[in-house]
């Protein structure tokens, strides 16, 4: 192991600062009556902004693509892209949370602290270049998430979701760790580049140990991106969790898991591409079918969005499946767009939610276009994007993903993707029908009393449309951020 120069730790300063903000909030939250909700939210936004600035700054300091800290981490364009995305997603989640936490009457300090710590985990994970550092970062993210899901501790649904998430999460972490240990046994290394080298030899020898090892590792990752059949936790957890946390899990957590899944598959497992493509194709297909069909009969919007998130995992896996540069940037573009329209949709649910979980069933959306025209218009944009209809980012995202799959010769998977997208139109448009064509008994305008939340929803809607009108800019961004990278696969 090469010696570590102390100044190399400077390169992790964004993560360190973010973690420091998180811990400071934890302390501030437990002194006396704790810290006020708005105060804590403002502090976390400051922390996120500082981290964003530092991320860009450290990127300039490091040699692009060269491993640091004894090969544990790497700073490259790919990591930069995701880190900025996580920070933006977390900032939006903060905007989504303020009123929700206030109304819930829970202490705010710990909540934002956990949010920042989970984000720190994601940022470290996407920089990870070694299975150990990746796994530890993943656990930091996961453990914070378990508590966040159960944050409304006086509500049964929240408790139940948290416990389920924890048990199944522990199971999947165990499976993943077991896979990692088998891989280590087979190859004597955990660093991604070295792993690829050893595996290419092992492949020739038909090594059973490494085969079981990578499958178990993949199962753990599929669990995190909630791809079928490892998605079973998703509906219950999404429904039970406080809605801003659901949005955070559906967006940031999923994006982080996909980022590291691609990193591991494209770099560490690159020699096994023929093998894992079959697995990914099967899992993607099953996710698209299962998610979309199960969503059809849901009357609860949060539950419907949970199944939709499973189906989207299937679409996004097509980018992995392609095992090509197109697949990679298509995946990155899709998750960028997905972040905004999914968080926007959850934001709309939050605005409609009141105590006792009203605003979650489809009927609560009846006549929304009259009661809150702005909100209904934004929701319409998000639902169009989720279905993949122009002029939204969802349309181009799907086009690129399907194109990548077809280009790589996986036409039948893309065909299933298109067909299941058509099915998804039914349940997304069911909400639109409620909003625009049904009348509700209540006609009083919905009070728009959370300016931060409304601004966040409007921002998400605008970005969703911009991504649909000017996809070129963002595609080039994604393309350029994978360029200086030595992908073993590409």
């Amino acid at each position: 192991m090469p010696p570590i120069a102390p100044q190399e730790f400077w390169l992790l300063v964004p993560e360190i600062v973010l973690a420091a903000f998180g811990m400071a909030l934890l302390v501030a939250g437990s002194i006396g009556r704790g810290i006020g909700g708005r105060m804590a939210a403002a502090a976390s936004l400051v922390g996120l902004a500082a981290a964003a600035v530092l991320v860009v700054w450290t990127q300039g300091q490091a040699t692009m693509g060269a491993p640091i800290l004894a090969g544990m981490f790497v700073l490259d364009g790919f990591a930069l892209y995701w880190k900025v995305l996580f920070l933006v997603a977390t900032a939006l989640t903060v905007f989504l949370s303020v009123r929700f936490i206030e109304d819930g009457g829970y202490r705010a300090g710990e909540y934002y602290s956990l949010l920042l710590l989970a984000t720190t985990g994601m940022m470290l994970m996407v920089s990870g270049f070694n299975l150990v550092s990746i796994w530890i970062s993943l656990e930091l993210m996961a453990l914070s998430s378990y508590i966040l899901v159960g944050y409304f501790k006086f509500e049964r649904r929240s408790n139940e979701a948290s416990l389920k998430y924890f048990i199944l999460g522990a199971l999947s972490s165990g499976i993943m760790l077991y896979g990692i240990s088998l891989l280590y046994g087979a190859t004597h290394t955990l660093a991604l580049p070295a792993l690829a080298g050893s595996l290419s030899v092992a492949v020739l020898q038909g090594d059973l140990l490494s085969t079981v090892g990578w499958i178990l590792l993949a199962v753990g990752l599929f669990f995190k991106v909630s791809a079928a059949p490892f998605h079973v936790w998703t509906p219950d957890v999404y429904v039970g969790a406080p809605t801003p946390v659901t949005g955070y899990l559906a967006v940031a957590s999923k994006a982080a898991a996909f980022a590291i899944l691609v990193r591991i598959f494209y770099q560490g497992l690159a020699p096994l591409v023929i093998d894992w493509q079959i697995v990914v194709a099967a899992v993607a297909t099953l996710s698209m079918i299962w998610g979309n069909i199960a969503a059809l009969t849901q009357r609860n919007v949060k539950r419907m969005l949970a199944y939709s998130s499973i189906a989207h995992a299937g679409y996004i896996l097509m980018g992995v499946l392609a095992a090509s540069e197109t697949g990679l940037w298509a995946l990155m573009f899709y998750l960028l767009a997905y972040t905004f329209f999914t968080l926007g949709a959850f934001g709309t649910v939050i605005l409609l939610e009141r105590r006792e979980y009203a605003g979650e069933t489809l009927d609560d959306y009846a006549g929304l276009a009259r009661r809150a025209p702005f909100l209904a218009a934004c929701m319409l944009i998000f639902l169009l994007a989720l279905t993949g209809i122009p002029p939204t980012g969802g349309f181009f995202g799907k086009v690129y993903l399907f194109a990548a799959a077809i280009e790589a010769g996986w036409t039948w998977v893309a065909v299933i993707g298109v067909l299941t997208s058509a099915i998804s139109l039914y349940y997304y448009m069911a909400v639109v029908v409620q909003m625009y064509f049904k009348d509700s008994e209540e006609i009083t305008p919905i009070p728009m009393r959370a300016p931060g939340l409304i601004a966040a929803i409007g921002f998400c809607a605008v970005v969703t449309v911009i991504l649909g009108l000017l996809p070129g800019i963002f595609v080039n961004l994604a393309k350029s951020s994978i360029l200086p990278l030595a992908w073993n696969l590409l």
Partner: protein, 690 residues
């Protein structure tokens, strides 16, 4: 020159402010300031900075355009799965400033600005003042996008944008019955043309892998054979593209057979008629043909079609205008007729002359429409010329500017319309004598109906009631100033492109456009007619115009009122009825296309309701009334069709999946474990076998 991107942006910004941000929240002066200010700024920017700096630039000196790429709109490689030219298909959001688009932005911003000023007075008392200006600014932005795009796709956005604004503004008085109908008609008829435009774009993109003008045209210039290869429907690529682009042009620029929407579009406010339906939007088709002139040069057959359609439209619309009594209807048919002239010029290959006439027409027809608006304003909304007359004394400014416009369009020498029309006729003469003869006859008819309009409106005695007479007043300066400015333009704008007479070549305009409309394959556009022939043709067209004016004076001049005109109508009752009813084309379309569509829709509905629902579903239900529950089940799911079956299967699947979601953690863990074991088992078996 670098500020080019601001030119379309400013009007869009104005529309955004008035239409969204400050909607119902701004006072009239603020609305006016934003709307007129944004267009004023953009025209000042265009006229005093962007165009002059382009004229001084190296690009202009070298005969090139200046291209400004704002962003990559559709990046290359997105469609990599399609092989061939699409592999690198990329579309930029980019602008092109070259002599052609410079002329267009000059016309659009200059005329557009003065019409905005005029609107402040004309629309001053109307409801929805802010809505009006938001739409008008939106139109300006879209129109500038149309003419500034450096590729066909940006042009298409502008094309659709102006169509939308046209629809919105025709239906501006949406509380009345007719305007929304006219708006819909315009929209639907235009969509037919747009479909043709899109076909042409698909063909271009599929062949060249790009939609950028300079790339397509340079590829063609290098290798004209690309365009002359057979493409589809027995046409060469050039003919296919040219034909379908022209289909688009007939929609937007109101040519036979798609002209029917334009006369009805007069339901919109008069300044809108002046700006959109006379000066700018309706000339977009001419601009497009001139822009794609290389394609047309390589498709002589289609160019012939363009010339013939233009020529026919010119005389056809001119004859209709003879018998109309609504002041705006006369001008509307006159516009259709003048657009026909422009297509005639483009069809015979005189592209710069077509654009020249476009420019002079923008001045004099914009002026005439604004003048008619001033008249309508003065007589309290009356549009029927039979109830006007003798307004000369009461509306002196309107009258004298209107005289300038009428003389210009009628072809009185040295006025702008004379200069440009004469060159069209000269070009037609060199191409085919019949085109020239019809064009010349149209010129005579034009002089007649325009002076008829002038006499009926301004001369003789006032034919309205005494009460109406007392209300007649000259328009305020905010309306008469634009009239004066445009009248000056109508008189002098032709002087930049005087026809070439032997050694004397004052045709600066033609030389300016030369880089854009240069010919492929040698033969030059410049006419080499002898001075004598040129002068003879000129004298003939002056004579024809004089005859038209003379007849108009004999019939409608002086104090005789409508008597002589009605006598003519009585002498040829059939012809008169035919013209008044516009050759019954609307009725014909109604009887065939419109009713046909309705009838098809109704038949389909009847088939649905009667045959499928009544016979199949109900009939089989009656049969199975006595049958067992099982066959009823069968009936419901099989006869009602595959669609329901699929839906049912999906619902069933959904319920099955729902069942799997028990909420019991141990079962979830089981699902995960089973999934894991299936994968491992699969691979261990595969690995052991290999």
């Amino acid at each position: 020159m670098q500020a080019l991107w601001l030119i379309p942006l400013l009007p869009f910004l104005g529309a955004f402010l008035n239409g969204v941000v400050l909607r119902n929240r701004a006072s009239r002066p603020v609305v006016t300031g934003i709307a007129v200010g944004s267009v004023g700024l953009t025209s000042a920017l265009a006229l005093f900075y962007v165009i002059p700096s382009y004229l001084r630039s190296a690009e202009y000196a070298a005969g090139h355009g200046f291209e400004q790429v704002l962003w990559v709109w559709l990046p290359a490689g997105a469609l990599k799965l399609t092989s061939g030219v699409f592999a690198d298909f990329t579309v930029d959001f980019a602008f092109l400033l070259d002599p052609l688009s410079a002329v267009m932005i000059f016309v659009v911003t200059f005329v557009g600005f003065w019409i905005h000023v005029y609107s402040v007075g004309y629309m001053g008392h109307e409801e929805g003042y802010q809505r009006y200006f938001a739409y008008l600014n939106l139109f300006m932005g879209a129109m500038l996008l149309l003419v500034l795009g450096n590729n066909f796709l940006v042009m298409f956005i502008g094309w659709e944008g102006v169509g939308l604004c046209s629809y919105l503004l025709i239906g501006y008085y949406y509380k009345e019955e007719f305007p929304p109908f006219a708006g819909r008609k315009a929209f639907i008829v235009n969509r037919i043309g747009d479909a043709g435009f899109l076909m042409a774009l698909f063909a271009l993109a599929a062949t060249f892998g790009t939609l950028r003008y300079t790339e397509i045209f340079s590829q063609v210039a290098e290798n004209p054979a690309i365009l002359q290869s057979p493409f589809a429907m027995g046409l060469t690529l050039a003919s296919f593209v040219a034909l379908f682009l022209f289909v688009g042009a007939t929609g937007k620029s109101a040519q036979i057979p798609l002209y029917v929407w334009l006369p009805d579009a007069m339901a919109g406010p008069t300044p809108v008629s002046a700006l959109i339906h006379a000066a700018t939007m309706v000339t977009a088709g001419v601009y497009m043909v001139a822009r794609a002139n290389i394609v047309y040069q390589l498709a002589p057959g289609v160019s012939g079609v363009v010339a013939v359609i233009g020529c026919l439209t010119a005389i056809f619309a001119a004859t209709i205008a003879l018998a109309q009594t609504d002041i705006k209807k006369v001008l509307a048919y006159s516009t259709v007729s003048q657009l026909g002239y422009m297509f005639l010029a483009a069809g015979v290959g005189a592209y710069s002359v077509a654009i020249f006439h476009l420019m002079t027409h923008a001045f004099f027809k914009g002026l005439l429409f604004l003048g008619s608006g001033s008249v309508i304003h003065a007589v309290g909304g009356e549009q029927d010329m039979r109830r006007m007359g003798g307004l000369r004394k009461m509306l002196p400014v309107t009258y004298w500017t209107f005289v300038a416009g009428t003389m210009a369009i009628s072809g009185v020498p040295i006025l702008s319309g004379f200069v440009s029309k004469d060159q069209i006729l000269a070009a037609a003469f060199e191409s085919h004598k019949i085109l020239w003869v019809v064009g010349l006859m149209t010129a005579g008819l034009t002089a007649f109906y325009m002076f008829r309009l002038l006499y009926m409106t301004f001369h003789g005695e006032f034919r309205g009631t005494q009460e109406e007479r007392q209300h007649v007043h000259e328009s305020p300066p905010v309306m008469t100033l634009p009239l004066i400015v445009l009248a000056i333009g109508a008189v002098i704008s032709g002087w930049v492109g005087l026809p070439r007479l032997g050694e004397w070549d004052w045709n600066w305009f033609g030389r300016f456009l030369e880089p854009v409309v240069h010919t492929v394959g040698g033969h030059s556009e410049a006419h080499h007619a002898s001075v004598g022939l040129e002068l003879t043709l000129m004298a003939l067209s002056v004579a024809v115009a004089a005859i038209g004016i003379f007849f108009a004076w004999r019939t409608y001049g002086g104090a005789q009122g409508l008597v002589a005109g009605e006598r003519w109508a009585l002498r040829f009752p059939g012809l008169h009825r035919l013209l008044v009813n516009k050759y019954y084309v609307d009725e014909l379309y109604d009887a065939t296309v419109v009713r046909g569509t309705w009838a098809t829709a109704r038949d389909l509905f009847r088939f649905d309701a009667g045959f499928i629902d009544g016979f199949l579903v109900n009939g089989s239900r009656n049969v199975t009334v006595a049958a067992a529950y099982l066959s009823g089940f069968f009936d419901k799911y099989v006869v009602d069709g595959l669609v329901n079956l699929i839906g049912w299967i999906l619902q069933l699947g959904s319920r099955v999946f729902r069942r799997l979601q028990t909420g019991v953690v141990s079962q979830y863990a089981m699902v995960i474990a089973v999934g894991m074991f299936v994968l491992v088992f699969f691979y261990v078996v595969v690995a052991l076998q290999s």
